[in-house]
């Protein structure tokens, strides 16, 4: 059962443009939503994360928007750079006192052209 659905599968953006990746979840027990960035040959690395009691979180050029009622969240990369070219995964887990078993989306391959 696919509990976190991610789109698009791939995305091509020009340098300076905005990259937008969307995710939707089903399990209402999820209450922590991290985004991971993965470069070829490397493990995923935490990029930014949000809790569902806020609707938006911004860190530099990266912003997460969260819609709890729709069970959807998205990553926006402003002023996209060629160095942002990587695979991005949304994820979810029940935080707090749980041990944090992550459920990942399928991933989006982002290519930023110079």
């Amino acid at each position: 059962q696919q509990q976190v659905k991610q789109s698009p599968q791939s995305l091509i953006v020009q340098k300076g443009g905005i990259s937008i990746i969307n995710c939707a979840y089903e399990n209402t027990a999820f209450d922590y939503f991290p985004w991971y960035q993965q470069f070829p040959g490397k493990g995923p690395a935490l990029l930014i994360a949000i809790r569902p009691d806020v609707s938006e979180k911004k860190e530099g050029r990266f912003t997460i928007s969260f819609n709890k009622s729709a069970k959807q969240f998205s990553l926006h990369i402003m002023d996209s750079q060629p160095g942002d070219s990587a695979t991005y995964f949304c994820a979810a887990y029940p935080g707090g006192t749980s041990y944090g078993k992550l459920t990942f989306g399928q991933g989006t391959i982002l290519t930023v052209h110079p």
């Binding site: 976190v4 995923p44 995964f89 006192t97 749980s98 041990y99 078993k101 992550l102 989306g105």
Partner: protein, 121 residues
């Protein structure tokens, strides 16, 4: 080292062979996770350790998969009688806190190793 390390980085096995994949977590991290990442897919949970105790092995795809963490630090994922469908990248992650520790969310951040790419011929 400062991060999670895994070895070997690449492993080629003939179908039917047994393999062992090693994970060295960040020192002092209580939690250790194994994930399987098929080509073009997101990582999928395999198993979870809190110190030496294996608290969740619900993601292990068959009884050919076995994981251990006997002293609460290094972990080994063993796959017996490998099959072609076992070909994937196996990721290990560790985090500072464990179950029942209501610390701020960032203490639960999982730090991933680079993975072991297993190819079964």
């Amino acid at each position: 080292g400062a991060g999670v390390s895994q070895s070997p980085r690449y492993k080629v096995a003939k179908r039917g062979q047994d393999v062992a994949l090693r994970c060295d977590p960040i020192s002092g991290h209580v939690s250790l996770f194994w994930y399987q990442q098929a080509l073009g897919q997101g990582p999928e949970f395999l198993t979870y350790f809190q110190n030496e105790a294996q608290l969740d092995k619900s993601g292990l795809p068959s009884d050919r998969f076995f994981a251990e963490r006997p002293e609460g630090s290094v972990s080994t994922l063993k796959i017996q009688r490998t099959q072609q469908e076992d070909s994937a990248v196996y990721l290990c992650a560790s985090s500072f806190s464990g179950r029942g520790h209501p610390l701020p969310y960032h203490y639960n951040e999982q730090f991933f190793g680079p993975g072991t790419r297993l190819t079964v011929l």
